[in-house]
Amino acid sequence: MKNKSLVSNIGIRLLLMLIIVTFLCVLNPKLSVAQPIVLGVPISRGYPDGVDAERGITLAVEEINAKGGVNVAGTMRPLKLEISDTRDLEPVVPVAEALLAVERLIIEKKANFIVGGPIRSEGALAAMDVLSKHKTVSILSAGVLSPAYHKRIADNYDKYKYCFRTTGSVVPMIGGAIGTFESIKAKKGFDKAFIMVQDVAHARAAGNALKEGLEKKGWKIIGYEIYPTGTTDFSVGLSKAKNGMAQYLIPWFDMPEVSILMKQWYDMKVPSLPIGYIHALQDEGTWKATDGKVAYSVVLYAKAGSVATKAIPLSEKFVPAHKKRYGMEPRSEWTSTSYTVVYILKGAIERAKSLDPDLIIPALEKTDMMGTYGRVKFDPKSHQIIENGDPKETAVGTWAQWIDGKRVIVFPDKIATKSLALPPWMK
């Protein structure tokens, strides 16, 4: 009898406590466990680009959660990452794999938003229909430089309005590159170039556009060669560049074997300045790994921010934060873009005060904030990030040159920290 009353006593007390806690939670949202906002991240985790993007997104999410999360109409909700491997950068992996990853994130993981990838244009373009079908807002922040992406949005806004992109397109990239080459021509008098590109769609498109654009400006293109992915000998092309007295060597490669090109260029002392999209050389560890044979190479980053510059204050906060978190500086441009993308989304959610795509889309279209690569604004018709070369006005790419083991920004002029240097054998 005594035991029974003890049990009922404890039971009543527990019930009372439960009621009080529930009451307090209802009154004070800060005490409640808010439902997280799920960010689905479909990326190729087995490749540096995917890992780089994942690092940027993770760092931003950790920072935001440490400050309480995202304020959705007065409720602070944490961000939760669901990362899925698209394998889209792996050779011979079908596009369907990337689509499956995106759909799994939306259906199984209940992702509220998709950020990051897929990284290959083919995968991202195919995923647009999946995003449209599920009415899920996506912001690409790694890879996908194809102009077809924002053209599809502009051509069929109602269907593809859920898709945004911060990586940029190869068209403004080439426009910027030609402007940079013209600027060097004005300073150094160079007008002979040898173009070497990888045999993949974006590089071939870039090579063709560069050749056409430079020839229109009166440049002499000494040679234009296309190399299969995985090429391990560039001696013939380099000899042609040397014999043709090319002053520029313009490589456009995203394959790791491009380091062989740079080592051969250095060993053969080819009197042409390597300047182009040399993705493997973006990594901070490249100098040590190549024994400094990347010296004087000028590397294009599709977006700034992964190399700190005073002209973009956020990049000066982001790069040390990345180094503290991962023990190294950001390896590629996609770390910077993927870090900023989370803040872009946070801003839009807070302005929309909702996760409803119909409210988020106009909020994203009105984005106007400073990111790690300049001012972030979207074209409301094509959802393409706006860029032109001034970080105070728009997003910018950057050209960094390897000098004495460091990447120093040499272009665009508005964010440059040093002027372009030439290798001793070119002087």
Binding site: T231, D233, K269, T286, D291
Partner: protein, 288 residues
């Protein structure tokens, strides 16, 4: 001259890549599709010993070659021996082991473009007006030395002679007391060691990536198909044919046609002489 020198380098590189694959097939009739994986295993192991454990470069190289050799032998002793005599199963099993090794590296995060080995000797030299780095010249030297050593080994040592005996006539050599499984383990271990030697001399030219493993396997198979599976002279012929045809294609047609030329050679070889230029698979003749 430029084409001759770099063509020679590329040919020796292909011969080095294919020699281990050819040795294993020549002796044990086993197409070791884990060959490319063992190649990058040697590269990553050397990198780890050098950069993580602080072992000196020469020590790292020897250690990684020994480890790869042991792993190669173990692959036959514990796995492939169970599917011996079933060619399709042998290929599937060895390919599965190879993919597992390569993807293990990807899974463990070995995907940065900064995994590189330093050259043995830095700098370059001018030969007849062609500037070439020392590492490529070392590759030529190592390639020639390896071919000579292999010839001496297979012609003047007891183990080498037993390898040749098995390659020539398995049943007759068994009657002479040669144990085929033990010989196959030795062949796998030696083939893997050759993959390791190729890796440590070739990889300083570029970087170590998982994809390199797949490409090395494809190149090794291409050389062996064209030259003739199981024939040393065939390996050399195939390597030189591919090496020079690639550089001539790059110089006079365009670098992006190189792969087309390789595939064309493979197709032509398979149509005109299925056993390869110098292959004698169906004849009871010397294969090692």
């Amino acid at each position: 001259m430029n084409i001759f020198i770099f063509g020679l380098v590329n040919s020796v590189i292909l011969a080095l890549m294919a020699s281990g694959f050819a040795l294993v097939y020549g002796v044990s009739r086993l197409a070791n599709f884990a060959h490319g994986a063992l190649y990058i295993l040697a590269g990553f192991a050397t990198w780890l010993f050098l950069n993580r454990l602080g072992i000196n470069y020469i020590g790292s190289i020897f250690l990684s070659i020994i480890i790869v050799s042991i792993i190669g032998g173990a692959i036959y002793r514990f796995l492939l021996i169970r599917v011996k005599g079933m060619p399709a199963s042998e290929i599937i099993a060895s390919l599965a082991i190879g993919i597992a090794i390569m993807e293990l590296f990807r899974w463990r995060g070995f995907i940065s473009e900064a995994y590189m080995l330093p050259p043995f000797v830095a700098g370059s030299v001018s030969i007849a007006g062609v500037v070439i780095d020392w590492q490529r010249l070392i590759i030529i030297g190592v390639g020639l030395a390896m071919m000579l050593s292999l010839w001496l080994f297979t012609h003047h040592t007891k183990v080498g002679l037993s390898l040749r005996a098995i390659a020539q006539d398995k049943h007759a050599s068994m009657m002479s007391g040669i144990e085929p499984d033990r010989t196959a383990v030795i062949a796998l271990a030696m083939g893997s060691a050759l993959a390791g030697v190729a890796a440590v001399v070739i990889l300083p030219l570029g970087n170590i990536t998982v994809e390199t493993g797949y490409m090395v396997l494809i190149d090794a198979i291409a050389v062996c198909i064209i030259g003739g599976l199981g024939s040393w002279a065939g390996v050399l012929a195939g390597a030189f044919l591919l090496g020079f045809s690639r550089i001539l294609t790059a110089a006079f047609i365009g670098p992006h046609w190189q792969m087309v030329v390789v595939l064309l050679f493979i197709i032509l070889t398979l149509i005109l002489k299925p056993s390869g230029l110098l292959g004698r698979q169906k004849e009871l003749e010397e294969r090692v």
